[in-house]
Amino acid sequence: MSTLVRNSWSRFSEFAATFGGFQMFSFRLLPYLPAALLKPRLITEQIYAIGVLSLVLTMFGGFFVGTVLALQSYGTLVEFGQVDSLGAFAAEALVRELGPVVAALLFAGRAGSAVASELGLMRATDQIAAIELMAVDPVERIVVPRFIAGMISVPLLAAIFCAVGMLGVYLVGVHLLGVDGGAFWTHIHDRVDLYEDLGSGMLKSFVFGVSASLMGVYEGFYAAPTPAGVSRAATRTVVITSVWILLFDFILTGISLPGV
């Protein structure tokens, strides 16, 4: 019994230490942010590695989420004779929920894990120590550009996801299932609200972007300098980021839905 208590306590304190360390790390990054903008070159390179290379996957995901959404909802809407609102229904679902969440999950899998394993390998091969020896701050040089690049990329990727998703809904709905094109766009215009729908979606994807990129750089930077440690860092990044994204999604949806 006492072993069980001791084990749970040690696991809990380990969790608390990691969680606290993560908060400290986040605060440590804050003062670097303005200075990092003076070296845009580093950020551009990271936007390329993180954002541009995730683009194809995101567009692919968006397109097929849109087409499936159209096919699935058409079956239900046609029973009530409401196929004209297919576009509005799909647009709200994409902009409010699916766009920010799925784009961020894809980002965590595609780019978050890459950042974590890259930094973890730098740690394992003593590259971070070498940079420190050259009197260059590794946080400023390596961590912050990746963090800022992720923060910029995720909302853009989410917007692209939504736009491509709408294209998928349009192609399936209007060209395949024969929904009237005019009614399709009119219902979207009428129903989707700039602040309530698009605003809350963009806010979500910004929060997801910050948490996904923060998690990637944190796990990588403090990875155990072993092959197992690097792989553990990549796995933990994907798992913990996904949990955070889903948790934050619930909280932000609760906040932004009026009258709940």
């Binding site: 936007i47 390329y48 647009a91 853009l156 990727l157 692209i160 709408m166 215009h189 989707v192 698009l198």
Partner: protein
């Protein structure tokens, strides 16, 4: 600047451009809900005994064409009636003072909207005027209730 760095710059630029174009596309699609906000508009008030489930931003229609939106719904604390503010496009500023406002339903299960029927008066409604003639929402469930009570009350020989 080396060739690879230039390629990186170009693709990052295109990526951000694509992202911004997507944002602009989504914004343009979501601006419709406040479609008269850009145009000049004026406000009318109307009091109803019961507004059903009329919502803010519900359409205000003249002869079936949307000419405005419901901008505010409140309750008059003295009269215990609902006060609805209608924001109407200034192009339709020739409504007579005896215009009749009723709360109608779009289809059987559709949302509520306000239907305006112009009267024949020569005087024209001004900004901030109140519509005198109104008709409350017809509550489907009340009608069904009445109908059921009536048929039950009748002898069934």
């Amino acid at each position: 600047m080396s060739d690879t760095a230039r390629g990186v710059d170009i693709s990052v630029g295109l990526f951000i451009l694509l992202g911004l174009v997507s944002v602009i596309f989504l914004v343009s699609q979501s601006l419709g809900a406040s479609d008269i906000s850009g145009n000049a508009s004026y406000t009318l008030h109307a009091k109803f005994d019961h507004i059903g489930d009329l919502k803010i931003r519900a359409p205000v229609a003249l002869a079936g064409v949307t000419i405005g939106r419901v901008s505010r719904i409140s309750v008059d604390p003295d009269e215990f009636r609902a006060t609805v503010d209608l924001r109407i496009d200034s192009r339709f500023s020739q409504l007579p003072v005896d215009t009749f406002a009723s709360i109608a339903t779009a289809g059987i299960f559709g949302g509520k909207y306000i239907d305006l029927s112009p009267g024949g008066d020569d005087m024209v409604l001004q900004d901030d005027d109140e519509l005198e003639f109104t008709q409350s929402a017809i509550l489907l469930e009340n009608l069904i209730g009445k109908f059921m009570l009536n048929t039950k009350g009748e002898p069934t020989e």
